[in-house]
Symmetry: C2
Subunit: 346 residues, 2 copies
């Protein structure tokens, strides 16, 4: 590696919450500062995981930090997210997680039983996902400095045979698949904070999407063009990144996007779009039209995938744009997340 020439385009004077929200500000930071300095001149689109050649074999590698507040919420906790998030980043890059390393930054004064609870959650999630936790590190910071704990996981995965993904392979006519209802995680965490007077029977969707990705690969590997797990920034942000990277249009049939009534209701109350809400157990896939039927069938047959749907298709124009077709006719432009309406969601 050579030290990158200084091509810094990041001009924001200081770091704000929005730079960590996964939307436009995050992208500005990553593309304007991190990528040019750390990854040299690479113009490769930034995926969920990097694929690297080690002594002749390709492996996928990824890392994520988790700072969710509160630590626990209906359906999951920071420990679940930390394992599933990394397993899922590998899965949607076309790899099966094999080994994880974990680091904890713990706030002094944290009751040991809370730590033990999260370590057990991680062990259970790792067992479910079939991944080994092979090492890690612990740091402790003073009381008041880390909201209980922050967890970072890094993972290595082996490629799923036959899967080759790239935004450049996406073609007009391809179908956009979604594995299940969106927004459950983000709204659940928001409700767990107790700031809202909303009651809802809602759980985080945190889970490994690997079984669904593997089922999809088995049924339709040659037709899979691109996958992404729509976490921070939601489906709208993931698809806008794809639209930009492939230069094509994505036309969504909004009435075909599965959203639970409680998520829709909370979003209406809060002035949020479910398409911007974080998910932790869903993924998007772009699949060639001739494979779309088999792909949807495979997802629906997989446990937890029965609500999978084809939610849109790729078109030539308008370039690099995501459009939503409304049930009552007409379309709207769907933009990336701007700002950070739901901070610290993962």
């Amino acid at each position: 590696m050579v030290i990158a020439p200084p091509k810094i385009r990041f001009r924001d004077p200081q770091i704000e919450m929005a730079h960590g929200a996964g939307g436009k500000a995050s992208r500005r930071l990553v593309e304007g500062l991190f990528a040019p300095l750390l990854m040299g001149d690479s113009t490769e689109p930034l995926g969920d995981a990097a694929h690297v050649n080690f002594n002749g074999i390709m492996l996928a590698m990824t890392a994520d930090s988790f700072v969710v507040q509160p630590l626990q919420f209906r359906g999951g906790s920071i420990g679940d997210l930390a394992v599933n998030g990394t397993v899922n980043d590998l899965a949607v890059s076309g790899a099966r997680a094999q080994a994880l390393v974990v680091t904890y930054i713990i706030e002094a004064g944290l009751p040991s039983e809370i730590l033990e609870r999260e370590v057990r959650a991680m062990a259970k999630a790792a067992a479910c996902a079939g991944v080994a936790i092979v090492g890690g590190d612990t740091k402790v910071v003073e009381n008041g400095k880390a909201d209980g704990m922050y967890i970072t996981t890094a993972g290595i995965g082996v490629p799923i045979p036959g899967v080759s993904l790239s935004p450049a392979s996406v073609r007009p006519g391809d179908c956009v698949l979604l594995s299940g209802p969106i927004g459950d995680h983000g709204i659940t965490v928001l409700l767990a904070r107790g700031d809202l007077e909303i009651e809802a029977e809602l759980c985080s969707d945190t889970r490994s999407v690997l079984p669904m990705v593997e089922a999809l690969a088995e049924a339709a590997a040659p037709g899979i063009r691109w996958m992404r797990d729509p976490t921070r920034g939601g489906v709208a942000t993931s698809l806008n990144e794809l639209a930009r990277d492939c230069g094509l249009a994505i036309l969504l049939a909004e009435e075909d996007i599965p959203v639970r009534d409680s998520v829709r209701g909370a979003c209406e109350l809060l002035g949020l779009d479910p398409l911007h809400i974080a998910n932790e157990g869903q993924f998007l896939a772009v699949v060639a039209r001739e494979y779309a039927g088999a792909a949807l069938e495979a997802l629906r047959r997989t446990p937890g995938g029965h609500e999978a749907a084809i939610i849109g298709r790729i078109e030539e124009q308008p370039a690099a744009t995501v459009l939503g077709a409304r049930p009552y006719g007409g379309t709207r432009v769907i933009d990336m997340l701007v700002g950070d309406p739901l901070p610290r969601i993962c």
Copy 2:
């Protein structure tokens, strides 16, 4: 992986700073909670990096979080530590770092120029160490949390040919080598906090030890039994872990351990033992006696290794103990670090 049976021996009611200091409390937490829950029944000694078989090839994998305060100090900064620390963990496990992933947890309000400075420091350290940074993640937390930034790095390395390390391979008569003077990093960070009225011409030793490890391997690979970088907890803690893991005695010639006058002076003033102070650019090696001369020569020939020394030898008795022979005769028992006299040193 199967979910580990509950063999939790960690009984401390809450997490304290000492649990992150690398000494006895850290070991209690790792061996009593993390290892039994996350790593199942493995009785393997916990090394700096795990060696894992991926599709038939062995790779080393490690991760560390960095929470040093202040972010910058003489000779280095959190960005340097985050790269060198992970490169060094891999090196002393017998592997050459090939790819890193990086995550940032940033405090809202951090001036962008400080972030840019640290990203540049990481790019430079990675280029020096010959490792590629291939991906990462950014989270932002509210002002008042995270002290500017925390950085986590995870790394993958390929084994250095001919090197096979295990505490179980250590034999009476083996020699203990040290790459250079100890305590520079810990005392430098302490002085950078400005709480002490000490002036000293001292710099952190943060650097990649890989060139020295590779020189050692070239000269003496079949004779290398064990290596470790004595970071948190210092040389005393690393050697106590070895003594416990191999069940033998380690007899140190204390006058042969290189310590700068300024480090010795600061330690005397503060009632600290240089053997407990963190290093970020040194490593310890146990080498079979017949290879010790060649090993020392190789270290001293390598840039930055001219102060390398043989500081002790392995003996049969007293079992699982580190002893220091004083210059004026007599020995003392050298224990692991207890408590956390220098918090957040890395």
